[in-house]
Amino acid sequence: MEAASIELFVNAIVAGLLLGGFYAAVSVGISISFGMLDVVNIAHPAFIILGSYIAYTVNARFGFDPILTSVVLSPLFFALGLLLYRIYYLCFEKRGQESLRGLAFFFGVLFITEVTLVLIFGVDYVQARTAYTDATERIAGIDFPLRLVVPFFVSLAMVIGLQFFLTRTFFGRAVLAVAQDQLALRLMGVDPVRVKGLAFALSIATAGVAGALLIVILPVQPSIGREYIGLVFAVCVLGGMGSIWGTLVGALVLGTAESFTATFFGPSWAPAVSFGLLLATLAFRPAGLFGR
C-alpha cells in the first residue's frame, strides 16, 4: 500500500474505535435493562436526549462542562429510573406480565418524553460548547478530534466502572443473579424487585451521561432519539445479552465496520453492513459474541 492509503486505513481504524466508544455509552444502559433485567426499554434513547438537553441547558446558562454536569446530575436520572421502574413493576411485572407489554408501555413513554422536550426546550437544534469542541490533535497524520476523543474515554471509564461494579460488589452480583435465578436470590435474603429497581435506575443514569456525550458530538433535537433505537439493541445483542464487555466489543466492532464502509465503499451502505454483521453473528452464534 502507498503511504496515502495506509494513512487512510489507520485513520479509519481510529475513527471507528472512537465512534464505537460513543456507541458503547449509548448502548450500555440497554445492556443492563434489556440484557440483564429483560425490560424492553425502547424509550432509552429518549432519556439520552433528555440527558442531552439538561447538559445543554446547564452548559448554555452557566458554561459548565456538559459531561461533568451529567455526572454530577446522574443521581437525578437514577431517581427517575427508580420511579419509572416502580410504575413498570406495579403495572406489569407484579402481575407476571411478560416484557412484551412493557414494549408498548415504553413506547408511550417515548412519545411523552419527546413531546415534553418539545414543549420545554423547543424544536431548534442545540449543541453544547466546550473548549475541546473544535480542537483536533494530529499525530503522525492521524486525526484525533477531541469532541470524539473525550467522549470515548468517558465512555470507556463508565463501561469499565460498571463492569467492576457488577462483578466485584455484592449488589452487582445480585443484579447478575437476578437475570438467572430469582428464587435463589430470595433465599439469600435479597429482594429481587429492589435489586432490579436499582439496576434499572443505574441504566437510566448511564443514559444521562450518554446524552451529554451526544450533545458534545452532534447537534440534537427532540425526536432524534428514534434514530438510535435500532443501534442500541443491535449493539446489545451483537456483544451478547447482558454482557458489559460484550457491549463494549460489539460497539467497537460496529463503529469500525461503519467507519471502514464509509471510507472505502460508500457510507450509504454502512447500516446494511452493520446490521448484516448482526444477522450473521446471530446465525452462527445465536447468543452473540460474548453470550453465555
Binding site: C91, A104, F105, G230
Partner: protein, 314 residues
C-alpha cells in the same frame, strides 16, 4: 361457528361497509377508515406470528414496505392495475416471510425479534440505494384518470380494497386459530421443545405462520403508494407500523382474532381523532399517554378483561 360461515359473514359485512361509499358523501371518513383498517390488517397479521405462535416480529415495517415497493416496481414497469399489484405484493412479502421462517430454526425469543429488526434495516438500506424505485428521493405512483370497478372516487376504491384486505386477514386469522394448525402453533408458543417431542412438525407450522403473517402485512402495504401518490423509504419503513402492530394486539388481546381487531379499531380511531382535534404538539402527548394507560389498565388486553368479567358472572 364454522369457518365457512364466519368467512361468509365477514365478507358480507365487508360488502356492506363498501356499500357505504354510495351513501356517505364525506371523503374524510373513508380516508380515516382506510388508515384504521390498514392497522387492522397489520395487527391481525402480526398476531398470527406473535400471538398464536409466540414469535415477536419487530420488522412489520419491512413487510409493509415490501408490499409498497412491489407496487412501485410494477407501476414503473407497466403501470400495473391495482388487483395485480395487491396480488404480487402479497406473494413477494409471503416469500420474504417464508425466508424469515427459517430464522426461527436457530433464533428464539428476543434474538428472533432483533433479527427481524436487523432485516428491516438491511432492507431499508437496499431500497434507499435502489434507483429504479426512486431510492432516497422517493417515487411517484399516480392514480389512473378513470377510476375502475365503478367507483366514483379513487379514495373509495382504495377504501374498498382495504376493507376486503381486512376481511381476508380476519378470515385467515380465524381459520388458523380454529384449525389443527392453530393448535399446533399454540403448542409451539407454550413449549416448543415439548411440542417437538410430542411429534408436532414445528418447523413446518412455523413456516406456514411466518409466511401467512408476512403475506398479510405485505398486502396491507400494496395500496400505500396509491394512497399517498408519493412513497419514500422513511415513510414506508416508519417506526409507527412496527410499534402499532405490536401495541394493538397487546391492547386488544392476543389469544384470538377479535383482540387485534378491537385493539386496532380502538387505538387507530383514537390516533385519528386526536390528530385532527388537538391542534398542537399535545396530540402526540395524548397518544403516548393513552398508550400507557391502555396497556396498564388491560393487562391481558381488552379481551382478557371481557373473559375475566364473564368468568365472574358465572
Amino acid at each position: 361457528m364454522r369457518n365457512r360461515t364466519f368467512t361468509a359473514l365477514v365478507f358480507v359485512s365487508a360488502f356492506a361497509l363498501i356499500g357505504a361509499t354510495l351513501l356517505v358523501k364525506n371523503e374524510f371518513y373513508f380516508q380515516a377508515a382506510y388508515t384504521v383498517l390498514q392497522f387492522v390488517v397489520l395487527a391481525t397479521a402480526w398476531n398470527i406470528l406473535g400471538g398464536y405462535t409466540g414469535y415477536v416480529n419487530f420488522g412489520t415495517a419491512a413487510f409493509f414496505a415490501i408490499g409498497a415497493y412491489s407496487t412501485v416496481v410494477l407501476y414503473n414497469a407497466f403501470k400495473a392495475p391495482l388487483p395485480l399489484s395487491i396480488l404480487a405484493g402479497t406473494i413477494v412479502a409471503g416469500l420474504a416471510g417464508l425466508g424469515v421462517g427459517y430464522l426461527t430454526l436457530r433464533l428464539r425469543g428476543v434474538f428472533f425479534a432483533i433479527a427481524t429488526l436487523a432485516l428491516s434495516v438491511v432492507l431499508y438500506t437496499f431500497v434507499v440505494n435502489w434507483d429504479y424505485v426512486g431510492g432516497a428521493r422517493g417515487a411517484y405512483v399516480l392514480a389512473p384518470r378513470e377510476v375502475p370497478f365503478g367507483f366514483s372516487r379513487y379514495t373509495h376504491l382504495l377504501y374498498a380494497a382495504m376493507v376486503l384486505m381486512a376481511a381476508t386477514a380476519l378470515a385467515v386469522a380465524r381459520a388458523v386459530e380454529t384449525s389443527k394448525l392453530g393448535r399446533g402453533l399454540a403448542a409451539i408458543r407454550d413449549d416448543e421443545l415439548a411440542a417437538e417431542a410430542s411429534g408436532v412438525p414445528t418447523l413446518r407450522l412455523k413456516l406456514v405462520s411466518t409466511t401467512l403473517s408476512g403475506a398479510l402485512m405485505g398486502m396491507a402495504g400494496t395500496t400505500f403508494p396509491c394512497y399517498l401518490s408519493f412513497v419514500e423509504p422513511s415513510s414506508a419503513f416508519s417506526l409507527n407500523y412496527a410499534v402499532n402492530s405490536i401495541a394493538m394486539p397487546l391492547i386488544g388481546g392476543m389469544m384470538s382474532w377479535l383482540g387485534p381487531l378491537i385493539g386496532a379499531l380502538l387505538l387507530g380511531i383514537v390516533q385519528q381523532v386526536v390528530q385532527v382535534s388537538v391542534r398542537s404538539e399535545w396530540n402526540l402527548l395524548i397518544v403516548g399517554a393513552l398508550l400507557v394507560v391502555f396497556v396498564t389498565l388491560a393487562p391481558n388486553g381488552i379481551m382478557g378483561w371481557v373473559s375475566a368479567w364473564r368468568r365472574k358472572r358465572i
